[in-house]
């Protein structure tokens, strides 16, 4: 174990050389740390983005099958008949693994009775300039389970400004959430009661206003004939919408949207769901395009980060190997004396390795957590500021995420363009930012130490070729 002592004596005696070695090693280790932090950031961003983007499955009537049925019909006046979704099926699907929540949607329309609808569109001009009267009411009723699960609320297109939104607790009640413009025009406040009338009869319904929302969208959600002003859309429990539609609609819905907690499992959930439903009447549609886009883009970022880590590690090994080779050449005489004394060549190599490990420990100590954390903050802030892209999935929440680390424009392999191009339609809502918290943890330091040890070992081994061949006679006598 004398070579440990020799290593220590050499390091402490030649302070200038040791300081230079520590500085060079610090610089290389910081590069490696930067690569590792980028890698960690890419991992975190990928995980966050996947979670934020999510994926959904929508259970609705199989319109394609209904069209086929209609075309095959021998009737002179064929009708398109679709079967409403049975809630009993939805409950079964909701119990499958990876389904985190679901939202039932049942839409209908009514006419305003105790107030006036925002006037605009009880009739519209149809194709060819023909006027077509509408059989729908002037108030669109969207029955839901939970307003926060509705895409227009989750992506902040609609915001509750007064009162509260609807929840599962509002099932079987006549509570409603109305638009702020309608509330303002008719002086309706939270707690007031409004009356609406069925479009097909004289039946009236009293609704209690529990919340007011503001729609930032300027376009109607219902296009074409019968379109209403967005302000005339009220949200109620789906049970109320079913009541208005008629008793045969009890326990049914227009569609049910299931949120899948793990987007990568959406296919397996769909497969399991298809076994529950009657596929000739219903269909389960996936919406994981955002997830697929994010996955591809983030895999590119991760691959890029991996390449940086390896590039820096290889460059670091070469640099340190060259330094150790030069150091060993400078110390040929010392090696010769040790060989003349009968020291084993591997112990001499061991001495140099120990010296490099001590240098590494001090270098990592200097770099350490403090510099690492600052570096991580800098890297992440640069990432966020230089490249960010917004994904806005159809009617879904949007996600802002980082692209190529420190880069600009398109990400690796067109990562950012892929993100930006990912099937954007619908209204543009506000963004949900994915925060990257990239800190140097004990595990990061251990990984860095491991990388450093590997680099030092390789460098010493490469440089030691000379020691293993060195003849003491040539050094000491010739």
């Amino acid at each position: 174990m004398n070579f440990f002592k020799r290593a220590w004596l050499s390091l402490t005696a030649k302070k200038g050389r040791s300081v230079l070695l520590i500085l060079v090693t610090s610089a290389i280790m910081l590069f490696v740390l930067a690569g590792m932090l980028i890698h960690t950031a890419a991992d975190t961003a990928t995980t966050n983005a996947k979670k934020s983007v999510g994926a959904t499955l929508t259970l609705s009537a199989n319109r394609e099958a209904s069209f086929k049925k209609m075309r095959k019909s021998s009737s002179s006046n064929p009708k398109l008949t679709t079967t409403p979704v049975k809630l009993s099926n939805a409950t079964k699907i909701a119990q499958l693994n990876n389904v985190s929540s679901y939202n039932v949607t049942s839409s209908t329309s009514v006419n305003a009775k105790s107030f006036d609808a925002i006037s605009k569109s009880t009739s519209s001009t149809g194709p060819g300039g023909q006027s077509s009267s509408s059989s729908t009411g002037d108030i669109a009723v969207t029955g839901v389970t939970n307003t926060s699960e509705v895409s227009s609320f989750s992506d902040k297109t609609n915001k509750i400004t007064k009162g509260r939104g609807l929840t599962i607790a509002d099932k079987n009640t006549n509570n409603t959430v109305i638009e702020s413009e309608l509330a303002s025009q008719e002086n309706i406040s939270v707690g007031d009661t409004i009356t609406v009338k069925s479009t097909s009869g004289s039946k009236t319904y009293k609704l209690k206003v529990v919340g007011v929302y503001k729609a930032s969208s300027s376009t109607s959600t219902q296009q074409g004939p019968g379109a209403t002003d967005p302000s005339n859309t009220i949200y109620t429990s789906y049970t109320f919408a079913n009541t208005v539609k008629g008793s045969k609609y009890a326990g049914t819905a227009d569609s049910v949207t299931f949120n899948v907690s793990n987007p990568s499992q959406v296919s397996s959930v769909k497969k399991a769901g298809n076994k529950i439903i009657n596929n000739s009447k219903y269909t389960l549609a996936t919406n994981d395009s955002s997830y697929q886009t994010v996955k591809a883009a983030m895999n590119n970022v991760k691959s890029f980060a991996d390449k940086i880590v390896w590039l820096v590690a290889i460059a670091g090994t070469i640099t340190l190997a060259l330094i150790v080779i030069l150091m060993i050449r400078e110390r040929r005489h010392e090696i010769g004396v040790l060989l003349a004394l009968g020291e084993s060549r591997w112990k001499i190599v061991g001495q140099f390795f120990v010296e490099m490990v001590v240098v590494l420990i001090v270098a990592i100590g200097i770099g350490g957590k403090f510099v690492g954390d600052k570096l991580g903050d800098q890297l992440v802030s640069q990432e966020s500021s230089s490249t960010s892209a917004t994904i806005s999935a159809p009617g879904d929440k949007s996600v802002q995420m980082s692209g190529k680390p420190g880069g600009s424009g398109g990400g690796p392999g067109g990562g950012n363009s892929a993100i930006a191009g990912g099937g954007q339609t619908g209204t543009t809502g506000s963004t949900q930012e994915t925060n990257l918290d990239v800190n140097v943890t004990v595990l990061t330091m251990v990984e860095l130490g491991g990388f450093g040890l590997a680099i030092m070992f390789l460098s010493t081994m490469i440089a030691s070729g000379g020691i293993l061949r060195l003849q003491p006679k040539k050094v000491l006598i010739e």
């Binding site: 004398n2 004596l9 005696a13 005489h333 004396v337 006598i477």
Partner: protein, 218 residues
């Protein structure tokens, strides 16, 4: 103690050999000088008996065993100590650490014995302050004394020295010769000194001259 059997060495061609069929015997407790002109091959001979190189022909026996069988590294560690003209100390260490390192590397019986090393350095005229300084802060004579002390503390029974007085003045030369005589006569070791200086040769118990590829006793 040390015996050469038909020893021969050449660099490229045998016809240009430095020496051939050398049969010499060196005994414990005696000092022996090998003198010769520059380029005669005396340092090469020293490197062979010190186990730093292998002969082209013949064998070297140490205490009856071929040093190749002992293993050159093991032979250098256990059986031989070398003193060089240019001292060859560890320049980043103090004299004391030089001795302690040699003791540790050669796994001598006094390995780790700091007091033993300090006593030896004191005997050779170094003060306590000097023995803790860096060796490069010592004079040439003092450095050579440290190098000799290194051979004296180790257990090796054979001491070979290559021009040990080559860089020293007359006073230091006399002191160094005296030290080698002590090693031979008091420690009972076999001392072989390669030198060009006749004063050194005369001080030794035996002397050989290497000239015209042959050794002859003076």
């Amino acid at each position: 103690m040390l015996k050469t059997n038909n020893l021969g060495y050449w660099y490229t061609q045998q016809k240009n050999s430095l020496f051939e069929n050398v049969n010499l015997e060196f005994k414990a407790g005696q000092s022996c000088a090998i003198v010769g002109q520059s380029g005669s091959g005396k340092t090469t001979f020293l490197s062979l008996i010190a186990g730093l190189d292998k002969p082209k022909e013949g064998t070297i026996e140490f205490d009856g065993s071929d040093i190749n069988q002992i293993g050159l590294t093991n032979y250098r560690k256990k059986d031989v100590s070398i003193v060089f003209q240019s001292y060859n100390l560890f320049t980043y260490m103090s004299p004391l650490n030089n001795l302690l390192t040699a003791l540790a590397v050669t796994q001598s019986s006094h390995a780790g014995d700091k007091d033993f090393a300090m006593d030896m350095l004191r005997k050779l005229g170094l003060t306590d302050a000097q023995m803790k300084k860096n060796v490069q802060q010592l004079s040439g004579g003092q450095q050579q004394r440290v190098a000799i002390a290194r051979t004296m503390v180790c257990d090796a029974k054979l001491v070979v020295a290559d021009e040990p007085t080559g860089n020293l003045d007359e006073d230091n030369t006399a002191e160094v010769i005296e030290l080698f005589q002590q090693i031979a006569h008091e420690q009972g070791k076999c001392v072989i000194i390669v030198t060009r200086e006749s004063t050194v040769a005369k001080a030794c118990d035996n002397a050989y001259r290497l000239a015209k590829h042959e050794f002859s006793m003076i």
